[in-house]
Symmetry: C2
Subunit: 529 residues, 2 copies
Amino acid sequence: MDASALWQRYQDWLYYHEGLDFYLDVSRMGFDDAFALAMAAKFEKAFQDMNALEGGAIANPDENRMVGHYWLRDPDLAPTPELKGDIVDTLVQIETFTAKVHSGEIHPPASAKFTDVLSIGIGGSALGPQFVAEAISPIFPPLAIHFIDNTDPTGIDRILAKLKSRLSTTLVLVISKSGGTPETRNGMIEVQKAYECQHLDFAPHFVAITGKDSNLDKRAKSEGWLGTFPMYDWVGGRTSELSAVGLLPAALQGIDIRQMLAGAKAMDGATRIADIKKNPAALLCLSWYFAGNGKGEKDMVILPYKDSLLLFSRYLQQLVMESLGKEKDLEGNTVYQGVAVYGNKGSTDQHAYVQQLREGIPNFFATFIEVLEDREGTSTEVETGVTSGDYLSGLLQGSRQALYENQRDSITVTIRQVNPYTVGALIALYERAVGFYASLVNINAYHQPGVEAGKKAAAAILDLQTRSLLVLREAGKPMSVSELAEKLGASHQVEAIYKIMRHLHANQRGVVLEGNLAQPSSLMVSING
Amino acid sequence: MDASALWQRYQDWLYYHEGLDFYLDVSRMGFDDAFALAMAAKFEKAFQDMNALEGGAIANPDENRMVGHYWLRDPDLAPTPELKGDIVDTLVQIETFTAKVHSGEIHPPASAKFTDVLSIGIGGSALGPQFVAEAISPIFPPLAIHFIDNTDPTGIDRILAKLKSRLSTTLVLVISKSGGTPETRNGMIEVQKAYECQHLDFAPHFVAITGKDSNLDKRAKSEGWLGTFPMYDWVGGRTSELSAVGLLPAALQGIDIRQMLAGAKAMDGATRIADIKKNPAALLCLSWYFAGNGKGEKDMVILPYKDSLLLFSRYLQQLVMESLGKEKDLEGNTVYQGVAVYGNKGSTDQHAYVQQLREGIPNFFATFIEVLEDREGTSTEVETGVTSGDYLSGLLQGSRQALYENQRDSITVTIRQVNPYTVGALIALYERAVGFYASLVNINAYHQPGVEAGKKAAAAILDLQTRSLLVLREAGKPMSVSELAEKLGASHQVEAIYKIMRHLHANQRGVVLEGNLAQPSSLMVSING
């Protein structure tokens, strides 16, 4: 395509929203008008599905749940007055609690103010809060945030060592919808132990964000925790950033959560229009579908040219891949759907994997995220008439152009600033695009059966561990891993048992391994004491 | 395959290195013995190529350079006494300098000791140091490290705001082989300005790590910087972690760099053996080749079950994708090679995209990284007989098993601990595997032509900016973007010019845009004053 045709195409497809000061450019995706036309019927259905979802339909049939994250930023849309009341009340509760924490009206037992927030949660209870903290928390927030987002003992120890001298002024958030997420439960127990080690009563430091009447909710109430905030069964983990899960940590850091909600609401309005070209989420979704042929044949590479958006790709990895990565469609056909997502930031990544994007295997499409304002205040010149920000902008443009010249497709999202309003808008944009895409390929975007299966598989391993130790203790003599497996009636799990033994042995848990480590079948296992 | 056959396969393919206490398991990659046999001849060549490279051959023909990162950890291997002397001398220089900084013999002008290190570098000058800092820096290091790894003004401002009160005790490393990397140069200028704003002389704080006689080297010497450390033209950026680039920041943080080198040297020894089954790098490489059919048809997903290894995937993204993502092979044939790499950490990612890995599009293979020791000291029980670390281990095993059951291949790397020795070993392992893979697919793994092209494309944009401003100033009246492009003789660049104007306008740089922002061709551009 020659330059003037390309310039025409750029303008034909350019989406601009004045209120959001937001641009979306899909002109460098290689589809033509015929493709968009051919997709119109599919999108008609996607728009209808979304209407039904917003109206309170059971959009998550496997779990028999409504899908209501859009109501969070416009409670008037909630299908019942009770739901509306819940949303409004929770928001007020968050703001009241936060104001009291900031003023010192709510304070730790032995100090005038809380200084830090420690958030314990994983997946949807961590990725949104982490992305938002990195993107828009003040440089010197009223409370500094820290995350335990795993069940890694070393990771937990590292956070607790750093917080040691401020544990007495730390507010701990425990975030789990079911209240039964093992990683979160383990983190909670380890942190409570750290409080006990310092002879501190943990309850006046602990806040639960959890489903009403979950085990965690009951525990928090019976132990007299500082507070509890609700999670709703109609908000999934990966779309919970604008519920208490994301808003409470954000507010505690001094982030304007009303602006986050307003930005999301404005984007929700823009993405409700049933016309592909006038709907930025539909344009995104159209581009994704085109790139991967509706089957995820190309990876989605996210390249924000702004340091503060570094974690956006990790956030989107969950939102996109957990929503779209499904084996079955809604009719039960095996479809193996999904779109792989990765990326960090530009121009840093230009000095890393962009070499491959530009010249190597063309198995991706890129999404550039451009932020027009370089910084607050004026910039020094690094060369005559040129600033650091001009370089950043030039590197983005150069990279986009270079990809185009090598027939690699790209999307460009442009915002003025990274602020609570635009971050809310970006979250809403991608939530909606994922919802549309799920309709196009006819899958349930709102469940995650594989995650449940992973938990069960881990529980089976832990059960095997417990039973292995019993058998070894009873036996009172060394045996091979195969013998142990046989005694357990679990010969099919011999490899798992070997690995359990190896792990316990490495951690001085009373398991002795003798023999040649390079030959697992030669090893004799026993219990020491 | 039934459980006992699988257990036999596990043992048949298990690689164990006693000195490194390192396991590699490729048994869950779906290749058979015939495949390995068929690859033997290709590997024969790869082993020979690697021998030649280590012997000082011009293994990077496009840049006419030797490739010597393996000599860094075993200087006796260097092909000349001069090279050996350079390596040994640099290491002594790093250790001497670091000891003096730690003791206070080298100190900032107005204080007894340096408190912080600010590293300015991008790509290979940042990703290794960032990975190593996250993986093995002490919780309370003698000097805390911070990174400016981009030309993002907001990002730079954020780091400088955090360091403001300690700028007078900050040691600044400027890392650039050529001395001409624009992002790094910009960061340097911005940081120098910050020193000037505080009326501090920057030179006694600044250290250069750069090629001998580069512009940066000359500048450092003429301005009387605190020190300069060499980068060699036979060490590429992405393999420079065990050169001064990685070792100086590591040493300043109190990391045992001799242990890093020793771990790498031990792994180099293990990966020099010309027998696929006895060489862990060859086994890795064989697995990659099998997974992607030698064409990168599957993405490499890196899943370390250890928080401190979070940045390993970002490090490997560069190492693998910049090395292997090539358009041409060594004969000049168009091959579009590469392997896409992404990942964060387990079990966190099990609550994110592992849903897709398990059930969705099977376009990847996984690499689990297992760390046997849970933590220093004993663990509390989170359930009877079960610790947080047992959960982490169980989740890894469960996930690996679940992937296998769904016909998704995986590799498992097992180490005892994350420490300087094992981190050195992991780096060496992947460096070698990448080198082998390049031989198998007959490409140059040691250049990055696309990165250079990206720089040139950005420079062209900046040139267009300068010329546009000249024309607008001369014209003294508004014109459309197309008119401006025409006057510049750059009608083919009209879209780039529009974006330059939009960026300058957003930053109060004297450019006025009038008209409908949604219709770029309607806009009239002029200069304000």
